[in-house]
Symmetry: C2
Subunit: 179 residues, 2 copies
């Protein structure tokens, strides 16, 4: 309930839910226009029953060719990927695809703002981590397939979890990209 | 075949196919990073068969909350909706949703570049039309639910159909938003 000490804690909300709430808050207060892209789906078969909505009866998940979120803030193009991990010592590259990396590189080349929001679910810590640094780690090492937590703690930016907006990442954007 | 006089003509390509080709060309030449967003789908049921890919067996089309395309060009946020019509005298508002209009207004308020690409399929004419002007028409009239073709011809910007890129809309963006 709302008087419990863990009210501002995780409450079982996923990172995606927190970000959707936060982006909704940003839009309704006129601060930014940032949306999650729909999940890419390959549609194979659709039924068109009379008198009711078209029903997709066969479809498959597709690999995304870009990141999950983009939009505009203070006149700048903003682009990021959000990932949760249950790992407690590092962020594994496992579920970031090569074309998502290419996409972030391209955004940087075109002077957009690109970053990741990484949540360590079991540690209840959420970080904003610059894409340029992420790309260096990703392509700069042969053996290791992850970023160690100490690097993320030192060079990422901890986003405190609060009531509304849940994860105020634009405050960090102001500090690191606009000052 | 490639020597036919209609080679640069429509060839049965939809506007979406032309735009996907064009955006692919822009990305591969490093000119811009612009993608179509996936079709929004409400997923109701997924089967997880052993030894094969997850299969979506029940899903429905959702109304999009934003426009179809966005990205970055010359450091600016770019956002547009693409629509085809078989109408020969006007562009009917029918399939533009209210929240897509709201989205375009928000983008303009945040200093993004927003527009529509409208194709009159039967006339084989494709126009870039500024979102601010579109919004005026959309909200400024009670009876009429469309923009008359003469206005689009006069105030829109005809995009010639060519081989590659198919519809070079960034040339028009250069002229009207960057000069
Ligand atoms: Mg994600
Ligand atoms: Mg469309």
């Amino acid at each position: 309930t709302s008087s419990s000490p863990s009210f501002f804690g995780n409450r079982g909300m996923t990172l995606e839910q927190d970000l959707n709430d936060t982006n909704q808050y940003y839009r309704s207060t006129g601060r930014a226009v940032i949306h999650k892209k729909p999940t890419p789906v390959q549609i194979v078969h659709v039924d068109y029953p009379k008198r009711s909505a078209a029903k997709i009866t066969e479809a498959y998940f597709k690999q995304p060719s870009t990141t999950d979120y983009n939009g505009i803030y203070r006149g700048r193009y903003i682009d990021f990927e959000a990932k949760e991990t249950r790992n407690k010592t590092s962020f594994p590259f496992g579920n970031i695809h090569a074309h998502q990396m290419d996409h972030m590189s391209e955004v940087l080349r075109h002077e957009g703002i690109a970053f990741l929001i990484i949540r360590f679910t079991l540690l209840e810590e959420t970080y904003l981590y610059d894409a340029a640094r992420f790309i260096e780690w990703y392509f700069g090492q042969k053996e290791r397939k992850s970023i160690p937590l100490p690097d993320i703690r030192e060079n990422g930016h901890l986003i405190p979890l609060q009531y509304s907006p849940r994860i105020d990442y634009l405050d960090i954007i102001d500090r690191i990209y606009f000052s």
